[in-house]
Amino acid sequence: MVKVNVNINNQAYSEDVEDNTLLVELLRDKLSLTGTHVGCDTSQCGACVIHINGDSVKSCTVLAAQVNGKELTTVEGLASQGQLHSIQKSFQNNHALQCGFCTPGLVMSAVDLLKKNKSPTESEIREWFEGHICRCTGYKNIIKAVQEAIT
């Protein structure tokens, strides 16, 4: 067992986990933060993207033990005081989700993109989403949603 002290969405957690626990398993199975999804076993789909110390990262490819002492944000932490984050709103406005499975990861990635690049071009947005797969193939509206969120 490993002790993990971690701050998630501005709340402190202290959990004992098995050595081989993946971060996404800690989030979903132990902490019931099920907004973060798992879509693959090969680090390719991006459904599990969250922020670790401000950077978007695939939580299926990090051990829970590795985030001891870190600050995490998951999709549950984006909205504040009942108000959706601007990216969440623009996904809604642009019908950028169909089944919604890939959406939490894409939203978390998009937030990171706009933090690092205030006005990305269409090709920069597409490149940024390289590590995401939307099985409903709704890419066009996903790009539109990010473009709308650029202000």
Binding site: D19, T61, W128
Partner: protein
Amino acid sequence: MYNFRYHKASTIETAISLIEQSDDPKILAGGHTLIPTLKQRLSQPTDIIDISSIDELKRITLGEGNVTIGALCTHAHISNSPEITKNIPGLADLAKQIGDPQVRHKGTVGGSIANADPAADYPAAVLALNGEVLTSKENHFAANFFIDMFETALKSNEIITGIRLQIPKSSTYKKFRNPASGYAMVGVFVARYDNDVRIAVTGASSTVYRMEDIEGMLKSSFDNDIMEGIEIDTTDFNDDIHASAKYRGVILKVLLEEAILELKET
């Protein structure tokens, strides 16, 4: 997921003593190759030794004509570092072409080099930039370090601490990505120095190698004319579902021409 014991090492010394106490240890840096292979049980170590919090391995330092990059620098760090974008733009560009942005936030240069995947990008840069692989034991010249597919000169209780590269006059990395995995089907790094030209190829065969014959021709005349009539020797090239050896040869020639054209006026 596959079961192992997890250890956190906050210094290189602790990591080495943990290695020596374990049956079948593996070092965890960025984990973006290791964790997927653990999930698939392609690798089944007894102990995972996490070195990812050793901050002294996360620095990029400029020296006299060279730059030293700590083993734990991520691809994102390298591609955005002013020291690298200014002095070795070819390397910044290489780092930016690895994986996807989320992978680049975690994957490290040391991990990539230790793994020595035949299609990895950094080995081409280390070899072309007359580099050394720095470890807890000694410094290895790149030419002696990369031995074969997934095989390097690293001993089991030796940890990569960084790489040191000679800053070229100009450099570029051209890569033909596998459209599905993004790995290099062929990648070629070309570096120009005052009296030297160095070319290293990755992805084409079982390990990275230099093209000394073409380097020689470019040393006397750095012009893409020299490529006319050149036949790439593809005898030892990989021949797999992604590309035939012959196709890899064709790609390599085109990439090399593009690289020469780009560096011609530099």
